[in-house]
Symmetry: D2
Subunit: 110 residues, 4 copies
């Protein structure tokens, strides 16, 4: 992985992790928490996996490619769920964008 | 830390992590998700910290005592929140018991 | 996944995580640290992934199968490396056994 | 915590995590691995704690202050160790700088 691509990917993962955790927190404060249950679940899945992959990349893990493949799938699933609520909640809209961008970035190195 | 105390603590941390994650999953499936929002938030906090401390202990981290102090506080807070729902939800009752037991175990090594 | 298989897998993952972290700590104290460098690197990879999968299973993650596939590969690689040092270091021997057992368990649910 | 301070802290934590993991990887490739053993151990401690705190902050954890206090101590310890090797290894020099900067940032919110 070229250094520049590496830096870009780390930033994308970090943004996705932060967007997912912000969405997790915001969903738990919404009135319609029940409607957001799957979003809350997937936000945690996605934030944890992005954080894990950030660490794996920076420690030069031999398993980055395999982890990126799983991360891409998790990001895609979380982004698709958040997209359903994008009209109602701005945190979901921003999270969906960050997740879909990250899914694409992860696929490119998987 | 004596070997036996060490093994006991690892088991207690593992049980607490598992109970919190089970409660997290079960709360997200309840009808009254809104009422469980703080429980969901704290279940994640507590599961993550117990898992972190398990790893710190097994890798002989120099910071086990400081981490155990924070873990004790998180376990206590999560256990107190789950206790409020113990009459309604069995997963909360079992989580509260696991958290309070773990808080005590963590305090003993903090 | 049946409940009994689930409990068995959690125990196997926990044992592997603990063995890897113990091996990580012990390798760093050996005289021949240089010879153990790859072991140290893989111990961390394996402990982190097993701990991650433990959490994923207990929170009923939708991605357990995909994560278990990666975990199986990491456990196998770590176990193979530790096996090379099994004659010289008891912690490597025990780690290799725990990793190979865990690799097989993960493959069975991947 | 004001939004700007928050963003600055997340960046500092991320930089410290990345510097520690890069140092971990580089130390394992050095000829004098034995001399770097404590550095390798503390790099992992510090990277893991910074990554943990990044997640805690972004999910609006109620325990950020307590975690930041522990993180500050870990960053300081890791930075002090890396500083000893700063003349010989550029990765240690950069890691020491990132750790000391992060220790200060963590103390300010602890």
């Amino acid at each position: 992985m070229a250094h520049e691509q590496h830096q870009q990917l780390l930033e994308t993962l970090h943004d996705c992790m932060a967007a997912c955790n912000h969405c997790f927190d915001a969903c738990l404060k919404e009135d319609d928490v029940k409607m957001m249950a799957e979003c809350i679940r997937l936000d945690r899945e996605c934030a944890d996996m992005c954080a894990y992959l950030e660490q794996a990349i920076t420690r030069n893990s031999p398993f980055v490619s395999q982890l990126a493949k799983v991360c891409a799938e998790i990001c895609q699933t979380c982004g698709d769920e958040c997209q359903k609520h994008a009209d109602m909640h701005d945190h979901c809209k921003r999270c969906a964008e960050a997740c879909h961008k990250c899914a694409e970035a992860c696929r490119s190195i998987a």
